[in-house]
Amino acid sequence: MPNIDISLRIGGEAGQGVESSGAGFATALTRGGLFVAAVPDYYSRIRGGHNFFTIRVSDEPVRATREAVHLLIALDGETVRRHVDRLVPGGVIIADEGLAFDPALLEGKDVRLFSLPLIKIAEELGSRVMVNTGALAAAATAMGFDLEHILSVIADNFGAKGGAIVEANRRVALATADALRERYNLALPWRVPARPAPPRLTLDANRAFAMGAIMGGCKFMAGYPMTPATSILEYMAGHADRWGLVVKHAEDEIAAVNMCIGAAHAGVRAMTATSGGGFDLMVEGISLAAMIEVPLVIYLAQRPGPSTGMATRTAQSDLLMALHAGHGEFPRIVLAPHTPEEAFVCGYRAFNLAEMYQCLVIVISDHYNATSLFTCDPASFDPARVEIDRGKLLTAEALEAMEVYHRYANTPDGISPRALPGSSPKAVYLSTSDEHLENGHITEDPQVATMMARKRLRKLDGARGKMRPPFRFGPAEAECTLVSWGSPFGSVYEAMETLNAQGYPTNMVHFVDVWPFPHEAAQEALGGAKRIVSVENNATGQFAFMLHAYGGIEVQEQILKFDGRGFTPDYVLAHLERS
C-alpha cells in the first residue's frame, strides 16, 4: 500500500487552460519525485463546456485515476456543482473569492472551501492569465508540495525568452501561497512533499509511440490532423529536422496513406496516424499495401463513433473494423498498447513486424491512451533497448548474387526478398495492385492467382509465431479472471489488486498482441479459469467476441462502458458482482 494516494481535480471552461495547467502540475509532481496518473476530460469545442483534469499522485507508480477527489480547483462555478459530490470527507475546494456558485451545494457537507483572491493577485502581480498559476500554487501549498517544481515547468514552457513572464508567475505563485497560509489552517491530512528521486518522465502513449517510432528508424510520416491522433503528427513534425524525418501534413487521409505506401515502397519506414473517420478513408490504401506487400504502420487512435461521434472522448470500438478493413483477404498484424512503455515498444516493434512480414501493422490505441499522462521510468525508453529487424531486405551483395530477381518470388514462408527500386539495374521491377506473377507483372492465370493468394496469407503463420502471449497478473488460482486489452489496463489491474486485498482471489489476463490472435497462449492463460469477466470500452464486447470466435474461450460476464469516458478501478469494482 502506498503512503500517498491523493487525487486532485481542476475544472473550468474550455479556454480557461484546464488541460495545460493540469499537465503542468502532473509534470511538476513527477519532478518532485512523485508518481502521477493524470486523465483529462474535455469537450470537442474551443470555448465553453465543462472541462476537467484529474491527477492522482502517489509515492508508488499509479496507472489509473480514482473517482474520489481530495482537492478540487474550481476555475468556474460549474466545477463546484459537478464535482462537489466527488470530494472525500474533509475535501477541499480552492477557488477565487469572487467565484459565483450556489452556496447550498456545500451545505451539510464535510467540505472546506479555500477562497482566495486568485484573480486579484494575478492581475496585480502578473496578468489575468496567471490565475491558474496561483491556483496550482495554492493547491501545492495545501498539500505541502514545493512550489519550485511548478515554477520550473512554467519556466520550461516559456523557454529562454520568457524571463519576465516566469518572474511574474513566480510572484503570483508565492503571493497566492502566502494568502492561503494566512487565511486558512492547513492542517490537511494529505501531504505530498517533494522528495529526491532520479529523473522520471511524464508521458502519454501517443508521445511514447512517436518516440519509439523515431528510435525505430521511422523516416517518413504523412498524416492529417484528427483527434486523438493529431499529437503524433505534430510531434513528428516538430522533431523532423533534428531526427532526419520527412513529415507531411497531406491534403486528406487518402493522400496520407498513399504517400506512406509510396515512401515505404521506396524503402523507408513510413507511418500514418489517424482516428476512425480518417482510417475509413485509408481502407483502399490498406488493400493496395497488402497487394504490393509494402510494410506499412498505421496508428489508429479510437474515439467514440459512429461517425464524428464524440471527438474528444475515448472508446475501444474499432477493433473488429481494424481486423477486417480492406477488401480481399490478406495478412495484417494488430497491436494494442496499454501503457506509454508498451506504446514505445510498439513504436519500433511495429516497423520490425511490418518489414519482416511486408504487411500492415495497425497499432490500435485510443483517446485515453493518447491524452493520459503517467510517470514513467526513463530506462524503459532507452534507445539502447531498441532492436531493429528489417526482415528480408536484400543487401546489394545478396542481390548481385542472385541470378534473376523476382520481387514476388513464391517462398515457403510467403515472404519474398525485397530489393529497393533504383538500387540496381537488376531491381528494375513492377509492383501492381493487380494480381501478378512472381516478377510483378499482371496476370489473371487461375493457378498463379491461387498460388499468390496462398503466398500472401502464409505470412500470417509466421507472424502468429511472433505474437506475445497475454500478460498475466495475480494469483495462479483465482475465483475470477479479469480479461482486458488496451487502455483499461490500469483500472483493471488496480481493481484486481483491490479484490485480492478484499479476499476475493482474482487474477488478470491482458492482451496487447491481438492479431493474429494468439489462440494457444490464450487457451493456456484462460482455459482453466473459473469465471471470466471481460472489461472493454465499447458496447458490443468486441474482444470478448474475439476470445469466443478465435480462442474458443467463453466470457461469463462483460463490463462494458461506452459513454465516451475511460475506466477507473472504482467503476470496475462497482460493476463486478462479487458472488
Binding site: 513527477t30 519532478r31 529523473p199 508521445r207 518516440m211 528510435m215 523516416k219 517518413f220 504523412a222 522533431h239 523532423a240 529536422d241 533534428r242 531526427w243 532526419g244 524525418l245 520527412v246 507531411k248 497531406a250 491534403e251 486528406d252 487518402i254 493522400a255 496520407a256 498513399n258 504517400m259 506512406c260 505506401i261 509510396g262 515512401a263 515505404a264 515502397h265 521506396a266 523507408v268 519506414r269 513510413a270 483502399e284 490504401g285 493496395l288 504490393i292 514513467c376 526513463p378 525508453f381 532507452d382 534507445p383 529497393l420 527500386p421 533504383g422 540496381s424 539495374p425 531491381a427 528494375v428 513492377l430 509492383s431 501492381t432 495492385s433 493487380d434 510483378g440 507483372h441 499482371i442
Partner: protein, 291 residues
C-alpha cells in the same frame, strides 16, 4: 548510351489497335532517352485505367497503384527517394475525376514529378462512360442524355493554382510529346502534361481527324511560356473553344520544388540515410525532453 530498347520488355500492350496510348508509349521511351535517363533512374507510378497499364509494358521501375491515387503514392515515393525521377502516368478519369484532389494539391505543392494525363475524354477501361473532361452533351451509358457538366479545364486549373510547368501533348505527335517529356523530366517541381489521346473504341466523335483539325502548337504562334497571363489565356482556349493549344504553355524554373525545401533531405535521399541519423547517445535527448 541509353536507347529505346532499354525500356522495352516482352509484354505486348492490350490496347485497341489505333489507340492513342501507343503513341504515348513511344513518346515516353523516346522522351526518357532524350532526357538521358536509364530505367533504373526512373519510377513510373500509374493509376488504374487503359493508359495506366503503361508500366506493365515497359522495362522500368513501376508502381501500378489505385484508381485516382497515383499522385499521392508518387509524392511519398519522391519524398523518400528524391534522387529518382518520378513520373505519374494515368487517365483523365483517374487524374482529374477520382484523383482531382491530389492533382489540385500537387500543382500548388510543386512536388518534383511529372504528371502525364492520357486525356481521352472518356473512361476507357470500364468501357465508355463520360469523364470530367468530356464535352457538354457527350452521350455515354452514364450520360444517355449527354454530359451536363462543363468539362474540367486542367491547364487553367494548374496555372491558376501555381503550377510551374504546364504542357499539352498529342499522342500522334510522338516526337513533339517526347520533347515535352524530356523537358519535364528535368523540370524543377511539378510538371503537368495533358495529352490529347484518341480512344478509338469509346470516343469516336473525338477521332484523329477531330483532333488534327483543332490542334496547333503554341510555339508556332510565338507564345512565350514564361508569361503567366498569356499562358492562362491559352489554357482557357480548350476546353471551351475550337482550337487546342499544344506544347509548353507555361514554365518557370524560379520556384523551388517542395522536396528542395525539406530540411531532412539536405543530407540526401531518406532511403540512403541510415536508420539512425545520429549517434545512439543523442537519441536520449528524446527521452530527456519528457522529464
Amino acid at each position: 548510351m541509353v536507347t529505346v530498347a532499354d525500356f522495352t520488355n516482352e509484354i505486348r500492350p492490350t490496347w485497341c489497335p489505333g489507340c492513342g496510348d501507343y503513341g504515348i508509349w513511344n513518346a515516353l521511351k523516346r522522351g526518357f532517352v532524350k532526357a538521358g535517363l536509364t530505367p533504373q533512374e526512373i519510377m513510373m507510378v500509374t493509376g488504374i485505367g487503359c493508359g495506366s497499364k503503361m508500366n506493365d509494358y515497359m522495362h522500368i521501375n513501376g508502381l501500378n497503384t489505385l484508381h485516382g491515387r497515383a499522385l499521392a503514392v508518387a509524392t511519398g515515393f519522391k519524398l523518400a527517394n528524391p534522387a529518382m525521377k518520378v513520373i505519374v502516368v494515368h487517365g483523365d478519369g483517374d487524374g482529374y475525376g477520382e484523383g482531382g484532389n491530389h492533382f489540385l494539391h500537387a500543382a500548388r505543392r510543386n512536388i518534383g514529378l511529372v504528371d502525364l494525363v492520357e486525356n481521352n475524354h472518356v473512361y476507357g477501361l470500364t468501357k465508355g462512360q463520360y469523364s470530367p473532361t468530356s464535352r457538354l452533351g457527350f452521350i455515354t451509358k452514364t450520360s444517355p442524355r449527354g454530359a451536363l457538366e462543363r468539362p474540367l479545364s486542367p491547364l487553367a486549373l494548374a496555372i491558376s493554382q501555381g503550377a510551374t510547368f504546364v504542357a499539352r501533348g498529342f499522342s500522334l505527335d510522338v516526337n513533339g510529346l517526347a520533347d515535352i517529356i524530356a523537358e519535364a523530366m528535368h523540370h524543377r517541381g511539378y510538371a503537368l502534361i495533358d495529352v490529347m489521346q484518341p480512344c478509338v473504341s469509346f470516343n469516336r466523335q473525338m477521332d484523329y481527324d477531330w483532333y488534327r483539325e483543332r490542334i496547333y502548337k503554341v510555339e508556332d504562334e510565338g507564345h512565350d511560356p514564361t508569361d503567366r497571363e498569356a499562358a492562362l489565356r491559352r489554357a482557357l482556349e480548350f476546353p471551351g473553344g475550337e482550337r487546342i493549344p499544344t506544347g509548353i504553355i507555361y514554365r518557370t524554373e524560379e520556384v523551388p520544388s517542395y522536396e528542395e525545401q525539406v530540411a531532412s533531405l539536405l543530407a540526401g535521399p531518406l532511403v540512403n540515410q541510415p536508420l539512425w541519423v545520429r549517434p545512439l547517445e543523442e537519441y536520449r535527448e528524446l527521452v530527456r525532453e519528457n522529464v
